[in-house]
Homo-oligomer: 200 residues x 2
């Protein structure tokens, strides 16, 4: 925005523009929209920002985001603490919980190993996973990172650390998506589906 | 987000989703992004929101958004206070200022007359324009609303109020955009360009 615009509006637009996926044009539109909001709604928005940042942190156990010391999943008595599903982000936990089928617990890495982007194993929550496993009673660790170069590399790296400890490490199955059409499947997915075929 | 997500994160995502053009998926992504920001940056963002809302208001004269009582354009001595360019939004002021050619002042309506959307003339800043004009010394009022049904209707309505007062009312010229290609111009634009042709 040019000089004749009110400074606080320019500042606000710049803040919006600093968010991922929001360009300067959209940011200006959002800043103008804020001007049309009720005073109270704007105060609530500001409070939501600081509240989330102040009160939400990593669960001491699984590293998922929570407002408690230990998250609801880790503190749920009915969940099997012997099975740990290792994921990249808190969003992945949400995805698994939507299946309503998984009864183990999680470990959120908050990233994937990617030497190209300067993300080494010490930059993600690997040592927290190891210290958790060293406390014993872990039956299985499921590597549930994405089937990408970084996801596979991270899964392989962690599996390499855990196998010598005698822990069962598994990887999510890759194959045709349910409801998918064979004709449209890419060749790698189809190869995985063939390779991992099951007896009927 | 499901129940196991931290409540402050859900609240923040809902706030983002209440902004125009931001869906729930994007809002969740933004909420997670806020968690990765520095504490200080989040506080500054929250402050920018409340600062903009608290300190920015309409200029007493032209109704444009400003943090002062009278905006910089209205208070600039070198600007011609006898010519008023009437626009819909503060963004339109920015657009005209970018041309660096206009030396008059503005009047921001903050909307267009649209009976379909229940926007009657009393809901936009028409009476502020009239009271401003009644103070005298106005040579020309340029109707610079968009060339849409609502923009044209608003321009016609205001022109109808001002002409009996003996004030010169003009409308922006419509024609081919500079750099535009004749072949791709729509028929209404082409007709306007033909109708408003100038002697060379």
């Amino acid at each position: 925005m040019a000089d004749h615009n009110a400074l606080p509006l320019i500042v606000l637009a710049e803040k919006f523009a600093s968010l991922p996926g929001i360009g300067m044009k959209t940011a200006q539109r959002l800043a103008y929209y804020v001007m049309s909001m009720e005073d109270e709604a704007v105060e609530e928005f500001a409070k939501a920002l600081t509240d989330a940042k102040r009160n939400v942190h990593s669960c001491k156990c699984c590293q998922n985001l929570t407002e408690r010391e230990i998250c609801p999943i880790c503190s749920a008595e009915e969940r099997d603490k012997g099975i740990i599903c290792v994921v990249e982000t808190p969003k992945d936990v949400t995805a698994f919980e939507r299946t309503r089928e998984y009864n183990g617990v999680y470990h959120v890495l908050h990233g994937l190993i990617s030497p190209m982007d300067n993300v080494t194993p010490d930059k993600i929550r690997v040592k927290e996973l190891l210290s958790r496993i060293s406390q014993g009673n872990i039956k299985e660790v499921i590597m549930a990172t994405n089937p990408t170069v970084e996801g596979d590399a991270t899964a392989m790296y962690i599996a390499g650390l855990l196998k010598p400890l005698g822990i069962k490490v598994t990887r999510l199955a890759f194959g045709l998506p349910v409801g998918g059409i064979l004709e449209y499947a890419d060749e790698v997915t189809l190869y995985k589906a063939l390779e991992n075929r099951n007896t009927m």
